[in-house]
Symmetry: D2
Subunit: 275 residues, 4 copies
């Protein structure tokens, strides 16, 4: 960001409380990442019994934190202070789709089908609906608008095995499904698309009193970089902090446990910092 | 038909040649049915070795023919002469949707989901797309138009396990899939809908030289009767002769064999009779 | 039943309470049917406001009851007294599978695939697992045992769109899924199989205090009649009273509503009558 | 390999001939990789018109080759000479499963579900069938044997959208499906598993005269390394040369084209070198 964009300071974080009957390996993907727009000023972890934590980067270079939940109740809290521009997601109407012949090697993987994004199955639809549009920012925006209108946001309408094709057929979903369908259409059009899991303050919660949650959206490769597109709202938002990016939700689960501990409590915080 | 509608005389029929390694039970649903518009003037069956044939009516009152294919090659030919009105499918723009509270008992079964018509899964879509339209003929016609435009007719794009949901997702199909999707939406809207398998002369074959085939379309209950709707073409046609009606294609396969004889040849005839 | 089989007298019934925002058509399939073993001694219906009820028989000759739920709360209660043999389900180890060439016309429909029973998709499995067994009662019993062992009974593990293939893959289900998988394998083997919805007193409820519920099982055609097979338990039970039979659960829903009234309460009774 | 293992020299390669109507980006994954057992002595590429080729490594460090197919017919040939041990795949019956708490960070991604491997859906099955076995080499071998016996190898039985769950249900597949099902079960058991695409000389072709093809198998993480398991044959083989590894077939397609050029010809070579 150039120096003259004012920034906002955010308090981010989450708490998970698990009850385990056996020692259980767990990987958390909840830490905010530095990005071209977000800076992490400070962050801290707190866990019952000062359990040892191991921080590492996964295949997509996302920060991950491993620990072993012992028998009994364990509470883990992540807290961070970050700055983001006090500005909407940037966009560039002249950003070009890059022909597959010219795409950088490292983004090609984001043109392939993945667990929840059957771009092979929905290819016919993608070309029927968007194939006739001029390539570029406006075509991607048309996909975003289509997905936003096609799906009805319905809490509880999805499960961990629902794919883009399922959401396309039923016409319902949550932010995860909106992102998967957007990604699926873009890939079918040979446009690299990836899944983003993160924090956002600028979330119209369905109704006052609804608890804050994580959010999922997409990044689409246009010109020489990734751009945020968020089919859940179809309008630029403020205050995104990325936790992880990957091919779809299978890659960036907020918690992966190897066993079946009982999640007793989960809370998420994403708000303007109060000085 | 009233007396003053001119009629056309059609020659209908088909030939199947099977090669069996073991005696194989087979049920044929290929005979034309009398209907309010079609009259069967004469019909004949011819089969290798004068095999005994058993004619009966199934659960839906469709004519069926059973026989046992012996070891070796068996050829069966059905031929009929029928008359149909020299007029397009009738329609009535004032025909009303009947509220479920008023539907006749015997058509309620055609509001339920079936093998290829997951009206439960696609209910959300049906109400989003057609729920706001005034009930009646025009709403059903809107469904017909939608299906006609949504699916691309593509020979070879379907298999015997493809359902309405699959066709909806991929956007492709043959007449069977067009009918299944139309039926699925209508049932989701609580409008009784059934599958029709039959002969039609007025078929725009994809290209000259393409062999004649059977056809599938739908019947929808409006007012006090079933009306033909054909999403494959989305316009009234001439010369339909029904072979069978049922909940979907699972009910009216042209041939059901209990075993795996080799179908060596199938031909279908449906043409203006030459005196 | 011959005269010398002692009988038991059962009290059966159920209560449904709905709250409707608009007049809503509803069809109830909850009345016990006479059968070779069960006699209905008396039955009664009670409904809020003495709403008019219309009783009729569906395509499968099952008793159905239609009414229109008015705006507001409606409670419907069905009560019956029935006698059943004080004996386990009958079976006959010498009962033969009937070759498709010899099956009665009217049972052929029960060899076809249906909404929840993709006998076409699972045909390969059926023949691999059971194709080498001698046809007859013991082969059907082997299917029953297989299904009983393959699926883990898990309350809440199913939804209204789960099919036999889904249950086969996940290995979980409730009585409905056990029945669907049994039916699917039998049909794939060309053995007529149908779905039964009914009352049973002899139900090992998962744990004391679990409320009574309806039950689903199967009937398989062997020799010259339908025989009860119940893959949920894999052992003969006592006291079955059939409510409805059909191709699968899509045909015999206990209640079909054309709209979305809120089901506030459902209770089921099936117990030894106390004189 | 230690020095005292005799080696064999192999000639490997393939030829693709495409006809394109427009310039089309294409990525080939056909080059043999060096591995602990295979050495690439020499390799060469030949392409119509000496088109420029760009060689790079993908996210999984697999060698890839990009080029742009021009309008018209393009033929690409890859040839290599490699040495492999003249010995069967190595195995170690004492190799241990590593608890998720101890797995290296970089193999955790191979415990997650992917496009064709719904380890989430089939988890119940995996634990029912293999959960009671002692962890370690023998359990993985039991999975391999199960998959080998469960699936019937059937050329033409699969399509590019068939997943492990589909293959599990139908009981049929080709080497790709065998690998996907093996991977899916292992991941459900928290054992890292990946897909391997490569050359193998020791292929029992279904019948003499069947053309040579690429092969797919799996690698499973035990102890401190990846081990080859090949559910297609369920016995150690000789002469594997890896082309690519990934989460499943979506990651290592032999050719990915961005467009629809017509594949006129494909041949594969993998044989003992003749000096």
């Amino acid at each position: 960001m150039s120096n003259d964009v004012p920034t906002r300071t955010l308090d981010l974080g989450c708490t998970f409380r698990y009850s385990s009957l056996a020692p259980t390996a767990a990987v958390f993907q909840v830490a905010g990442q530095e990005s071209p727009t977000a800076k992490i000023l400070q962050e801290s972890w707190e866990v019952t019994g000062d359990l040892p934590m191991h921080h590492y980067r996964d295949l997509y270079d996302n920060p991950c934190t491993r620990l072993v939940l012992p028998v009994g109740v364990t509470t883990l809290t992540y807290s961070a202070r970050a700055t983001v521009p006090d500005a909407f997601d940037s966009w560039d109407e002249s950003a070009a789709e890059i022909a597959p012949t010219e795409l950088p090697d490292e983004v090609l993987v984001y043109t392939l089908a993945s667990r929840y994004c059957e771009s092979d199955v929905l290819a016919g639809q993608a070309w029927k609906k968007f194939g006739h549009l001029d390539p570029g920012y406006h075509r991607v925006q048309a996909v975003n608008t289509f997905v936003n209108e096609w799906l009805t946001y319905l809490t509880g309408s999805t499960t961990s095995t629902v794919t883009a094709m399922d959401a396309f057929a039923t016409g319902r979903g949550v932010c995860r499904d909106f992102a998967h369908l957007m990604i699926t259409f873009c890939r079918a059009l040979n446009i690299p698309a990836r899944y983003v899991h993160g924090y956002i303050t600028d979330m119209d919660v369905p109704s006052p009193g609804t608890p804050m949650d994580f959010h999922a959206w997409t990044q689409i490769w246009l010109g020489d970089r990734w751009w945020d597109f968020d089919p859940r709202w179809n309008s630029p938002r403020k205050g995104r902090v990325i936790i992880g990016t990957g091919r779809d939700a299978a890659d960036v689960a907020m918690v992966t446990t190897y066993g079946a501990p009982w999640l007793q409590l989960m809370t998420v915080t994403a708000q303007e910092a109060v000085e």
